[in-house]
C-alpha cells in the first residue's frame, strides 16, 4: 500500500452532484452521511463540495442537457484515482424520463449517467436507501485503495 492510498483509506471524500433529479436521492445521501443514525462519518467518509479534494463522485438524477457540461467538468477536476457512483433509478437508466419523447431524441435529458462519464458502481432504488449508498461506496473502494 502506497502512502497515498494509506492516507486515502483514512479519509474518503464523497462529492455529491445533482443533475436534475427530484431531490429525494440527494437528501437520502446527505442524510446517510450527516444523520447520526447512519453516520458514514464514523467510517471516515466525509461529504465535500470541492471536486479537487473528492475521491468518490456520487451522481443523482437523469442528466439534463444544461447539466451535462458541468458534470464533465467536475469529473475532470477530480484527481486520479477516482470512482463514480450512479445513485437512484434516474441516474442508473433514466428512470421515468428514459422514453420521454419516444424515439425522437430528447430535448431535455442527456442521461443516463454512464452515457456521459464512466460509472464504477450503480446503486438502484427510487429513492436510494441510505444503507444501499453505503454499500455502493464500499463497492467502489477497491478502485481507490488498490491504485498505485
Amino acid at each position: 500500500m502506497s502512502l497515498k492510498s494509506y492516507s486515502r483509506a483514512r479519509a474518503i471524500h464523497v462529492m455529491l452532484v445533482y443533475t436534475g433529479g427530484c431531490n429525494g436521492c440527494d437528501i437520502e445521501i446527505v442524510n446517510c452521511i450527516f444523520s447520526p443514525k447512519y453516520d458514514a462519518e464514523q467510517y471516515k467518509v466525509f461529504l465535500t463540495w470541492n471536486p479537487r479534494e473528492a475521491d468518490v463522485l456520487v451522481v443523482t438524477g437523469p442528466v439534463t442537457k444544461h447539466n451535462e457540461k458541468p458534470l464533465i467538468e467536475i469529473y475532470n477536476a477530480i484527481p486520479e484515482p477516482k470512482a463514480v457512483i450512479a445513485a437512484g433509478a434516474c441516474a442508473l437508466m433514466g428512470g421515468v424520463y428514459k422514453n420521454i419523447h419516444g424515439d425522437i431524441p430528447s430535448e431535455e435529458i442527456a442521461g443516463p449517467v454512464d452515457k456521459i462519464i464512466p460509472v464504477d458502481a450503480k446503486v438502484p432504488g427510487c429513492a436510494v436507501r441510505p444503507e444501499d449508498i453505503l454499500s455502493g461506496v464500499v463497492a467502489a473502494l477497491p478502485l481507490l485503495l488498490n491504485a498505485k
Binding site: 436534475g20 431531490n23 429525494g24 450527516f34 447539466n67 431535455e108 427510487c126
Partner: protein, 377 residues
C-alpha cells in the same frame, strides 16, 4: 459592470458576483447573479430552467392513474402533496366521494410530510449558518418521521399513498401502526422544543439571523409569496382552513412579524407542534370503514383546478380528462411563486448573507422548473 440598467451613467461601480449553475454552496443547480456595491447586495437575479425535465409533457396522454403516480417524481420532499393534489383534480372532475377514513389517513400523511419538510429546512438552514452540529441534531429527529413514513408507505421518500377514490390498501393504519405514530409524535414534540430552546437561547445564532433577509409584509404580498414565507411577515393565511379534508381538525396558524431569517425559522419550528397536534387528533378520531371507493366510472371532464396547502405554500394542479387520459396538464409549485421573494430578500444585505436570505424562503429548485408563462401586469 451591469450595463443593462445604465448604472454606469450614475458613476456607481457595481460588481457582479455569479454563483452557479453548479456551486459548492448550493446543493441544487441554479444560477444566482448578485450585483454588489461595497459588499452590499443591490440586486439579485435567480435563473431557473436547469432542471427542467418536462413532467407535464410526459403526463400528456397517459392514463390518469399513471399520470398521478408520475407527479410524485416532481419533488422528493413534498411527493405526497403532489400525488394528493393530482388525485384531487381527478376526484373533483369525475365527482368521486372519498371515504372519511381515507381522508383522515391522507391528512396524516400530509402532516408527516410537513414535519419532515420543515425539519429538512431547519437542518439546511443550520448548515448554511455554519452550525453543522445543529443540522445533525435535526437530521436525527427527522429520522423518526422517515421511519414512520417507511412503515406506512413502504418507502422512505416516495410513498404513493393516494389513489383515485381513496388510499392504497398497504397504507391502512392498524393498531400497531397507530401506536408507533403516537410514540413518534411524542419524541418529536419533546425534541423539537428542546431544539428550539437551544436555537433561540444561542446569542451567536440569534445575532446572525435577526434582521437578515428582511421581507416587508407589503413586499411579500406584492411578490405573491406563499406559505410560511408569507406567514412569517405577519399575514395570517393558510389554505388548510379552506380545505375540505382539514374541516374536522383544530389547529392554529402560526405567524411571525419580522419577515427575516429568524421569523422564517421560528415560523417553521412552531408549525411542527401544530402538525403533530393535527396527527394526534386524526389518530384519536380515526373513523372506521372502507378506505377506497371503487364504485366510479371514468368520464370525460373539462379542465379542473385544485389548490392545496403544502409545506412550502400553495400548490396548483390542473388537467382535463379525455377517454381516461390526461390532457393540458399544468402544475404550479409554491417555490416558483416564492422566487420573487428570494430575489428581494437578499437585497440590501451583506453578500455573505445572500445565500442565507435565499435559503430562508425554502427553495426547492426541482419543483421550480416547470413550464411557466409570466404575464406582466
Amino acid at each position: 459592470m451591469n450595463e443593462d440598467n445604465n448604472i454606469t451613467d450614475k458613476k456607481v461601480i457595481e460588481t457582479e458576483v455569479t454563483m452557479g449553475t453548479v456551486h459548492s454552496a448550493a446543493i441544487e443547480p441554479y444560477r444566482v447573479r448578485l450585483f454588489v456595491e461595497d459588499e452590499i447586495v443591490r440586486d439579485a437575479e435567480i435563473t431557473i430552467g436547469i432542471n427542467h425535465r418536462g413532467i407535464e409533457r410526459i403526463m400528456e396522454g397517459l392514463p390518469v392513474e399513471k399520470a398521478n403516480s408520475l407527479t410524485e417524481k416532481i419533488c422528493g420532499i413534498c411527493s405526497n402533496s403532489h400525488i394528493w393534489n393530482s388525485v384531487l383534480v381527478a376526484e373533483k372532475a369525475i365527482g368521486i366521494d372519498v371515504p372519511e377514513r381515507a381522508q383522515y389517513i391522507r391528512v396524516i400523511m400530509e402532516e408527516l410530510e410537513r414535519l419532515h419538510s420543515h425539519m429538512l429546512y431547519l437542518a439546511h438552514g443550520s448548515e448554511v449558518l455554519g452550525h453543522e452540529t445543529f443540522a445533525m441534531r435535526v437530521f436525527y429527529i427527522r429520522e423518526t418521521v422517515m421511519e414512520i413514513l417507511r412503515m406506512i408507505g413502504g418507502n422512505r421518500v416516495q410513498y404513493g399513498v393516494s389513489i383515485i377514490g381513496g388510499i392504497r390498501p398497504r397504507c391502512e393504519l392498524d393498531e400497531m401502526r397507530i401506536q408507533k405514530i403516537r410514540e413518534g409524535m411524542d419524541i418529536i414534540d419533546e425534541k423539537i422544543l428542546e431544539f428550539a430552546d437551544r436555537f433561540v437561547s444561542d446569542p451567536m445564532i440569534m445575532a446572525r439571523v435577526t434582521g437578515v433577509g428582511v421581507l416587508s409584509q407589503k413586499q411579500a404580498i406584492e411578490l405573491a409569496a406563499t406559505g410560511p414565507t408569507l406567514r412569517s411577515t405577519g399575514v395570517e393565511i393558510d389554505l388548510r382552513r379552506e380545505m375540505e379534508a382539514y374541516d374536522p381538525f383544530e389547529f392554529d396558524i402560526i405567524t411571525q412579524d419580522d419577515g427575516d431569517v429568524k421569523s422564517n425559522l421560528l415560523c417553521r419550528v412552531l408549525e411542527i407542534p401544530e402538525a403533530t397536534k393535527i396527527i394526534r387528533q386524526a389518530l384519536d378520531h380515526l373513523p372506521d370503514g372502507k378506505i377506497t371507493n371503487r364504485s366510479w366510472e371514468m368520464q370525460d371532464a373539462p379542465i379542473t383546478k385544485s389548490y392545496i396547502e403544502v409545506p412550502r405554500g400553495k400548490l396548483y394542479h390542473s388537467y382535463s380528462l379525455e377517454d381516461g387520459r390526461v390532457r393540458n396538464s399544468i402544475i404550479r409549485t409554491p417555490s416558483i411563486t416564492n422566487i420573487g421573494a428570494m430575489q428581494y430578500a437578499a437585497v440590501g444585505h451583506h453578500i455573505t448573507d445572500a445565500q442565507l436570505a435565499i435559503v430562508q424562503c425554502d427553495p426547492c429548485f426541482t419543483c421550480t422548473d416547470r413550464a411557466i408563462q409570466i404575464i406582466k401586469i
